[in-house]
Symmetry: C2
Subunit: 156 residues, 2 copies
């Protein structure tokens, strides 16, 4: 199980679309979504994944994460067991120096929300900021995908 | 994902111990344990398993189940994310006609509880009853392992 260290930002313009080197269509749901323990089913470009995440550290930058790829039919069946409120988004990958930013454009009930995340090797690792980055929202629970499921952006 | 069809009974004497052809030591915990959706981490004789179960049918005999074997170190890490109240038990396998009964002797906070389950191919499949079977408790929620975690036998 890896420790996932991430920082998350709002996105203030659409320039990421032109600078992205790849994009994915993602659909994901949650079998459970409690504080400190989430189980996620994701289908990304026709591949299935099951992911278990543990509790965050106090700053919200770091979480335990376990992930396993699944055959697509199994992921589709597990998706049917998920809590109501499946998340649909398109993820753009944008390089900035030695880091890759994942920019998530949400659709459905979260249409209009765009957030960018960067994965770090340590909590204090420096990284360059692409011009589209806005306010930092690392650790703000309402931006967790597992929170967007129950309280989507359209209700904010 | 398979449909798991099972019936569950209390056990009224210890004769299963002599007729068992195999036994396992089992330790299991739950990452989530809600009605209709449980995620279980199990370590059985040094092997790890992750299991997702869906909702039961109204009689409690049948549930969706998805299971995957895991490397032991991953199962041990996922066990640390589980809800409080890990279940320890010894499972005895006893043949009766063409069926195998799984007899679970619980330990720790569930010491004294012994239940037997038989897996069926259909809800109305006939099966022979070994002499140690007592009252049927199929579908009684308090005997679910996921319920024993929060409300163990010692508190009944």
């Amino acid at each position: 199980m890896a420790q996932e260290i991430e920082r998350k930002f709002l996105v203030k313009d659409k320039s990421y679309r032109h600078s992205a080197f790849r994009s994915y269509v993602i659909r994901q749901g949650y079998i459970c979504a409690e504080r400190g323990r989430t189980v996620r089913v994701r289908i990304r470009d026709g591949k299935g994944f099951l992911t278990v995440k543990g509790p965050s550290n106090p700053s919200g930058t770091s979480r335990y994460e376990w992930e396993r790829e699944l055959p697509l039919p199994e992921a589709e069946e597990l998706m049917m067991l998920c809590l109501p409120g499946v998340i649909d988004k398109v993820r753009y990958l944008v390089e900035c120096g030695t880091h890759v930013f994942e920019v998530d454009e949400f659709h459905g009930d979260n249409e209009g929300l765009v957030v960018a995340e960067v994965e770090l090797r340590s909590e204090d690792e420096a990284f360059g900021k692409p011009s589209f980055l806005g306010k930092e929202v690392t650790g703000e629970r309402k931006y967790y995908n597992s929170s967007l499921m129950a309280n989507p952006y359209k209700n904010w």
